[in-house]
Amino acid sequence: MQRMALSFPEEVLEHVFSFIRSERDRNVISLVCKSWYEIERWCRWRVFIGNCYAVSPMMVIKRFPEVRSISLKGKPHFADFNLVPEGWGGFVCPWIGAIAKAYPWLEEIRLKRMVITDESLELIARSFKNFKVLVLSSCEGFSTDGLAAIAANCRNLRELDLRESEVDDRNGHWLSHFPDSYTSLVSLNISCLGSEVSLSALERLIGRCPNLQTLRLNRAVPLDRLANLLARTPQLIEFGTGAYSSEIRPEVFSKLSGALSGCKQLRSLSGFWDVLPSYLPAIYPICSRLTSLNLSYATIQSLDLIKLVSQCHNLQRLWVLDYIEDAGLDALAVSCKDLRELRVFPSDPFALEPNVTLTEHGLVSVSEGCPKLQSVLYFCRQMSNAALITIARNRPNMTRFRLCIIEPRTPDYLTLQPLDAGFGAVVEYCKDLRRLSLSGLLTDRVFEYIGTYGKKLEMLSVAFAGDSDLGLHHILSGCDNLRKLEIRDCPFGDKALLANAAKLETMRSLWMSSCLVSYGACKLLGHKMPRLNVEVIDERGPPDSRPESCPVEKLYIYRTIAGPRLDMPDFVWTMEDDSEFRIS
């Protein structure tokens, strides 16, 4: 058998490997033996780097010389909620500089939570002749000038997706930089932009791109222009409206309805800012085709939402505000048997009293009525252990469960007990659970359950929970597949962290803020673990200026083979292996 394997020519192995698309599988292949490592690295086209500081650009380039697609993630997830101070990092510039030289045939760049400048966008536009895909997810640092450079130079661009990015939106003229000869657009997402784009330029652009499948407009595009736009792209599959209101004019309504119906492939709708309910029936004729509906910006009331979702029998994904209320979720449970993903966002997260009747009941309903439900994000103001146990029993196929009870440390509203048993049931019954976010009143007991049952758990978010280090210890010692752990405002300190130091090298990252980890422990961890970067973020000035026992404000630990990073701002300190003091 061994002799047979050795006599396989490289080309054959390479051909076999080309069927392996998943990065994880590729990583495993490369570990089999040295020759497989070599063959595999020469034919790896797609690289995913979950933490841009875990490895250096030169290391990636050296190992994988033929990359066509690169994905990079920068800031930790809690940056979405303003917990990571401005200027922390995630600068993509050194990456772009390096890959511009090393990969002239690069086709795809996907970035998440990174800082990218106009200069970098211009470099991308100039350097890659076959550039096809640019996805900037929750990124910042650039303006519409950078976008103009991309539009003007990337002749083969297929996808430009700016989802949730913060763009210095100077004006809408950048769109006009796509030359008249440019026809290859497949996907355009500009929903995050503030200013108006030239609608005539947009109409001409999409009119000459026959392969356009996804078009997500920004709020500034008026409702009465949608029909014209849609008429030019009847092959559209995913569409995001702008502001969904206008003076009530029958011809606007009928043209819009006609245009939407004319898009026979349309499966996904989003946008819906400023909804005027009278215009919602324009969508009714296509509801039964829809698989994805994002109404999370639509401030429409429960009755209108019920009328809408009751017609969406093929719906797989629904994002909606809590205006849907329990009644709307009951309707969803009856009408949408194919539902896989539900996200319910809070309409007024800071209201002291509930403004809508959305309780645990709605989620229980959906868990009962929708057998394929596997991904949940739910903001509410009350929960009970009984409800959570019911949900868990109903949906053992749950893979992502994020519950946010708005008021921290809220107990079971029926028994006034902690919600340990409820979340315990979730991890126990949902054996394939990969992602979990906790909330409500929770003791160390819930972490015991998570450590015992959460064997497939990859990402865990914890806030205002636990009693002692034991809680953290249960997680780190029990969750075999944990990759990302983010914790805020929990009484976890040094002991659990130091006792489980080795575990941290098996994870992508750990974030802890407003906890009880001392500066001394951070230093110790930094010294002990050379392949971890232990970063202390503290606004109060250098940690040396305070006693070692003083807890740090924020802590970000991640594994890396690139050593400490060199682009830290002056409120971040890396705990060095050899020296105690940062050389400023």
Partner: protein, 188 residues
């Protein structure tokens, strides 16, 4: 400088100091109300919605929130309830924060909110003394203005970012101008 005018200047300065000592609470007034006495301060507070001492649930002002809780992205918040997040920089503080101007109904509320956000700062407008901060903002035209110069709604509409300047730089100028004014009025 003649002894009389120095004495006058000193007493004018001590008037300013005394006013400041009394006003340990924020007392930002609209233009023209610089010489706020405690009675008119109360009147001013009563005209605003926010009353710091009230803790009833009917108080429409939001209570102090933990940063980043509940975990709703800024872009989502911005789309609802006419949110308006602007960055706030403070001289001497290493990092920026963001504040939602739509959460407040008056300058009073905003500056109290900023004071809470940045720890134990005290913020003054027009009257300045010691290690206090002058609130300034950049408007739509890119000009830097003093916070409080325009009606509140206009400010929310035009404010792009806020900077709290340490008063040593700016307060000194203001005090000098004030002193000159008092000299003119009291010296004669």
């Amino acid at each position: 400088m003649s002894p009389e005018s120095t004495g006058t200047a000193r007493s004018a300065m001590s008037d300013v100091t005394e006013l400041n000592l009394k006003e340990t609470e924020l007392t930002l007034g609209l233009p023209g109300t610089n010489n706020i006495t405690t009675s008119s301060k109360r009147a001013f507070s009563e005209t605003t919605v926010f009353t710091p001492t009230s803790s009833s649930t009917s108080n429409p002002a939001p209570k102090a929130q933990a940063v980043g809780w509940p975990p709703v992205r800024a872009s989502r918040k911005n789309a609802m309830r006419g949110c308006k997040y602007v960055k706030v920089a403070v001289d001497g503080a290493p990092y920026l924060r963001k504040v939602d101007l739509e959460k407040y109904e008056s300058y009073d509320q905003l500056l109290t909110g900023l004071e809470a956000m940045f720890g134990s700062l005290t913020i003054r407008n027009h009257l300045g003394n010691g290690a206090e901060y002058m609130p300034t903002y950049e408007d739509k035209d890119g000009d830097w203005m003093l916070v409080g110069d325009v009606p509140w709604k206009m400010f929310v509409e035009s404010c792009k970012r806020i900077r709290l300047l340490k008063s040593e730089a700016s307060g000194l100028e203001i005090r000098r101008t004030e002193l000159k004014l008092k000299e003119k009025t009291c010296g004669n």
